[in-house]
């Protein structure tokens, strides 16, 4: 059979997508294998390839980054049943299995469904897991509780069949204040709750930013609207998804994301299209503002979550669980679920630093809960600090990875945990991503590593591109490409330099911004 081939600028993926996005996983299980095309469509069901031949990955969608204890227990059970008992927490607050066999997929899905958990739209060219501040409900700095908005937007965007076939993935996040813990500036659509003086009164609504992203080319999101009333914000997000759907590049997938549309069209044109899209659907655009609207809420620290003695806005306290390498066993997850039932609000909160949180703890019980957590071989110290290094799964599981991020993680943790760095433990964040996809967003942290191989005279060795001084609104600057063996020593030199140059309680990034790159580049000649 001859296909009619044209010179149309459409990727082969688009042809597969156009032929349908439905899969019968029972039939696939009977066959025992997935075709290339089925493998592509499987992503819409959250099922993706794995580095280990014969294994698959499945990503469980956790809208807003919160699951009930019973859901967590089911996820743990399913991990035990089908996925070698291991669960990874992702930087988008999802959970992943990495050891699935194709014949187990339908059972996995059925088991999860009993607790209302799904992998649907875990991957694929759709709205990905909608994320939110882990402390959305009880953070003292919050302007609004964004969790309900996050979950509602997740529901609407996932249920909208006209948004099933986007040019590529679409990422939405909700931040409760300008502390930006939910990383709005590196998402396609970043929503930040703001308190503004409007018409003589203080009103809370949202600032919406558009076109941020990591991947192989980093973009900082731009402000689409300075203020959106609360009842308009979800239509705005949908209109942004429509903008992406209709204007994203469907030929070059590497340039398909919304960030490239924004770069291509400019913010003004994008805003026009968003407004047109809203009006076309009969949505009101009243109250959407573009002029600068300063936030009049209380000041917010640069890194709200670093504070070990984090204050909540209610009487309860929070136990934050540091999960090394973002991976837990089914026993650990089950125990954490149990702790949330015994001491917390019967929920588990996932964070974009691949950690978990228990909320609603009686302050009097905090110490006990922490001890229980420690007993599961998880940690409660150093969360969001220098030791809380975020590696992607790297070559351990990921088919795309270039580097074994966990190797570098294991070399760096004892180094940064040294007593001499205690004074900067809360001022440095380190992310390690195994490839340019930047699943661990390495451009927005103080020290970021991106995996690569470095050519030698013959052969090649594992290495990393190293960036320093990044945050969401100004990405890190390149220090160099270094062999894996050299990365710890260079990190140590950078940290020493930070100890030497630091003023007050500034972060490493703030210090680098103040000094410029020269002193940091000098350490390389030592």
């Amino acid at each position: 059979m001859q296909r009619q081939l044209t010179m149309e600028r459409l990727s082969e993926d688009e042809e597969v997508k156009a032929s349908g996005l439905n899969l019968d996983f029972d039939e696939i299980a009977k066959k025992g294998v997935m075709s290339k095309e089925e493998g592509m469509v499987a992503k819409w069901y959250g099922v993706y390839g794995s580095r280990q031949p014969g294994n698959l990955m499945a990503r469980i969608v956790i809208p807003g980054g919160v699951i009930t204890a019973s859901q967590a227990r089911q996820i743990a059970d399913t991990a035990e049943n089908h996925a070698q008992g291991r669960i990874s927490i992702t930087t988008r607050q999802s959970l992943q299995y990495h050891w699935l066999k194709v014949i187990r997929i339908p059972d996995m899905m059925r088991e999860l469904a009993t607790e209302g958990v799904s992998t649907f739209h875990g991957c694929g060219d759709v709205t990905r897991n909608v994320t939110a501040c882990p402390m959305a409900e009880n953070c003292v700095h919050r302007r609004l509780d964004v969790r309900p908005f996050a979950r509602e937007s997740a529901r609407l965007l996932t249920d909208a069949r006209d948004l099933d076939n986007l040019p590529r993935k679409f990422k939405v996040t909700w931040s409760g204040c300008r502390g930006n813990c939910a990383q709005p500036y590196m998402n396609c659509a970043g929503v930040i709750a703001v308190a503004c003086g409007l018409d003589g009164s203080r009103q809370t609504g949202f600032k919406v930013v558009i076109g941020g992203g990591m991947g192989w080319k980093g973009f900082v999101a731009q402000e689409l609207f300075s203020f959106v009333p609360q009842d308009r914000v979800i239509p705005v997000i949908r209109a942004m998804a429509l903008l992406f759907r209709d204007h994203g590049d469907r030929y070059n997938r590497a340039k398909a994301r919304l960030k490239f549309v924004v770069a291509r069209y400019g913010i003004e044109r994008c805003r026009e299209i968003v407004l047109e899209n809203m009006q076309a659907e009969g949505e009101s655009v009243e109250g959407l503002r573009t002029e600068p609207m300063p936030d009049v809420g209380e000041p917010v620290p640069a890194r709200p979550l670093v504070d070990e003695t984090f204050q909540t806005c209610d009487a309860s306290s929070v136990v934050r669980i540091r999960v090394p390498k973002g991976e837990v066993t089914h026993q650990q997850l089950r125990r954490v679920a149990e702790l949330s039932e015994m001491f917390g609000d019967q929920r588990i909160y996932t964070t974009n630093r691949q950690n978990m949180e228990l909320h609603g703890i009686d302050p009097a019980k905090t110490k006990q809960v922490k001890q229980e957590v420690l007993a599961t071989e998880l940690f409660t110290d150093g969360v969001e600090g220098i030791i809380d290094i975020v590696p992607c799964v790297g070559t351990t599981y990921c088919p795309k990875a270039v580097s074994t991020t966990r190797d570098l993680y294991d070399r760096l943790v004892p180094l940064v945990a040294q007593e001499k760095f205690a004074s900067i433990a809360g001022a440095v964040r380190i992310n390690i991503t195994g490839c340019p996809n930047s699943c661990s967003p390495y451009r927005i942290v103080d020290i970021g590593f991106r995996g690569m191989r470095i050519r030698e005279e013959q052969g090649s060795v594992e290495g990393y591109e190293m960036l320093i001084g990044g945050d969401q609104e100004a990405h890190g600057l390149r220090l160099g490409d270094f062999k894996l063996a050299d990365c710890p020593a260079i990190t140590e030199l950078v940290l020493h330099k930070f100890l030497e140059l630091r003023e007050g309680d500034e972060t490493l990034t703030a210090c680098i911004r103040r000094t410029g790159m020269a002193p940091w580049e000098e350490v390389l000649s030592q």
Partner: protein, 588 residues
């Protein structure tokens, strides 16, 4: 800590990423990467014209051909297609080469705009050149000489220009309007033509005495005689003479069996013309046979043509050498042949024949056409003038080209030689080489888009539609009808577009292997070593199995299908798409 990492050198094939690449290696890379162009004697930029056609721009496609091979419409019908033998599709799949020749014709057929003669390279030099012979070589030489700024006069013996294009090739293969249109494009550039000018030795001397240069492109108009026992003079007709008479409408009907001896284009054309003259395309009545002493693989006819011969009920008998004829009542009655086999030990291009003893057989016939070759009419050379190497003669301002220089050959070689001699004459007249060739390399920023996907490689070619056999005899209707635009585009998209080169900048490559994963076939490899020859051209690569063994990730241009997927997935922008083009232009 030593951060001064030692690395194997970067690996870029062309010497420049953008601009003029002039090293010996650059020319060799182009020749290797674009084998069809290299196989074309006129160095036609095949992938470029096919790409224009694929993009629906027949005019641009035609112009590329016009520049390179002078007669696109003609060669799109009658070229011997050395390019197709070298097409990369021949290396990798079983669906045959890209229909390069027919696509050339497709562009000529779809031409909408009127094409103007090509512009001159230089101002008038005031030099005068006489070109003896208005066949393809002479016309090509004349066009280029004119573009080089010289005054040109063509002297042609026949009452029309075209040489073998009009006298040798039948109209059902090459309609006259096609030839005339393309000759007009040459002549309209301001070339003087003197028809009916039978240049003999004396006149040649006169030309040599009065013109600044003379170019003899008189072809091979003397037929090779076949000596057969019992064959009276003037009984057999030479293939050339037959075709000349047929093409001029002097043979309109024939009867009785016809034997055509020979295996070249003329033999085939004669037999097919006979079939028309005798209105016997459907096979009633008498027999027309081609009898050739070697096997079919050594015949000049293409596979398509052999099929058409069969459909036109012409029989082909091979491995037989004529030995004698039988006459009855003063008329030819039959030709006796002896079987022969080919000498398997022969390493010549055309193997020797070994007779099979006692294998004689007779083929009855009323007409015998002998088309076994043609040679130069040496007598047109003045006393004392002889050919030297290449296009030269013993007189420094007298040159030869085309078949007259090389012996009987095909049209594309005649054109190539015509163009080449023009530059030699120019160098003689001006005292320097005013033209130059180099490879122009251009980095193309369009996301690796060529329009190609892997499925294009695996498409079957659209077949050339042919006229129904019963209608072929009427008015010498052209047999091959030409592609419709859709078929032309479909066939064009099979072309690998080898003029594009995808290459990895090793200093940007991080060995993520995403390109290898995206590759449509094994066109990208991990390699541990790359050995270059003295010109810096990749000679050998050693494939690496494991990541740490890989010094380079390397795109094998010989396997690359120019789909651009690798470029689009590369996360570091290490992969570039370059367009390489052989440029032939005046020196600046």
């Amino acid at each position: 800590m030593n951060l001064d990492y030692k690395k194997a050198p970067n690996l870029r094939e062309y010497s420049v990423a953008d601009g003029e690449a002039r090293s010996a290696g650059d020319a060799r890379i182009l020749a290797k990467d674009i084998p069809c162009q290299q196989a074309c004697p006129a160095r036609t930029n095949v992938p470029l014209y096919i790409e224009h056609l694929a993009n629906g721009d027949a005019t641009a496609s035609y112009r590329v051909n016009l520049e390179c091979n002078v007669f696109p419409g003609v060669l799109g019908r009658v070229c011997t297609r050395p390019c197709e033998d070298r097409c990369r599709h021949q290396w990798t799949n079983t669906q045959g080469p890209v229909t390069i020749c027919h696509l050339k014709r497709a562009a000529a057929d779809s031409l909408e705009a009127n094409i103007a003669p090509l512009p001159s390279y230089f101002e008038d030099t005031g030099k005068r050149v006489a070109v003896v012979g208005g066949g393809p070589a002479g016309l090509a030489a004349a066009r280029e000489l004119k573009r080089l700024g010289h005054s040109v006069t063509i002297l042609e013996r026949e009452p029309q220009l075209g040489g073998m294009l009009v006298d040798g090739i039948p109209k059902f293969r090459l309609p006259r309007r096609v030839v005339e249109k393309e000759i007009a494009l040459i002549i309209d550039s301001g070339i003087d033509v003197e028809l009916g000018k039978d240049v003999d030795a004396a006149m040649m001397q006169e030309l040599a005495d009065t013109y600044d240069a003379v170019c003899i492109a008189a072809g091979t108009m003397k037929v090779q005689e076949l000596e057969l026992d019992g064959l009276p003079p003037d009984t057999a007709l030479s293939g050339l003479e037959f075709m000349k008479q047929y093409n001029r409408g002097e043979i309109t009907s024939m009867s009785g069996d016809v034997v055509v001896i020979g295996g070249g284009f003329t033999a085939v054309d004669c037999s097919r013309s006979c079939a028309r003259a005798a209105r016997r395309l459907l096979g009633e009545g008498d027999n027309i046979s081609i009898i050739y002493r070697r096997s079919e693989q050594f015949m000049a006819a293409t596979q398509d043509e052999l099929e058409e011969i069969e459909r036109e009920n012409i029989s082909i008998r091979t491995l037989a050498t004529p030995v004698s004829v039988r006459m009855e009542d003063g008329l030819l009655a039959g030709v006796t042949f002896r079987r022969n086999i080919l000498d398997k030990t022969s390493d010549e291009e055309k193997p020797r024949m070994l007779p099979v003893p006692d294998s004689e057989f007779e083929v009855p016939c009323k007409h015998l056409i002998v088309a076994i070759g043609q040679t130069q009419e040496w007598e047109i050379l003045p006393e004392g003038l002889a050919l030297t190497d290449g296009f030269g003669t013993t007189a420094e301002h007298v040159f030869v080209t085309g078949d007259f220089a090389t012996g009987a050959d095909n049209v594309i070689k005649a054109v190539a030689n015509g163009k080449a001699v023009a530059e030699e004459i120019d160098a003689h007249l001006t005292g320097r080489e005013r033209m130059q060739s180099f490879v122009r390399v251009e980095t193309i920023e369009k996301d690796g888009f060529t329009g190609r996907v892997r499925d294009h490689d695996l498409q079957s070619s659209a077949e050339m539609p042919v006229s129904p056999v019963p209608e072929r005899a009427e008015g010498d209707r052209e047999v091959e009808q030409g592609f419709d635009p859709d078929s032309a585009e479909a066939n064009a998209m099979r072309c690998y577009f080898c003029h594009y080169k995808f290459e990895i900048d090793q200093d940007k490559c991080i060995h993520c292997d995403w390109c290898i994963d995206a590759a449509p076939r094994e066109c990208i490899q991990r390699v541990s070593r790359v050995f270059l020859d003295d010109d810096g051209v990749v000679d050998t690569v050693i494939e690496a199995t494991l990541a740490h063994e890989a010094t380079y990730i390397w795109i094998d241009s010989d396997a690359c299908i120019r789909c651009g997927k690798c470029l689009r997935v590369c996360p570091t922008g290490a992969i570039s798409m370059q367009k390489a083009e052989r440029i032939h232009c005046p020196r600046t």
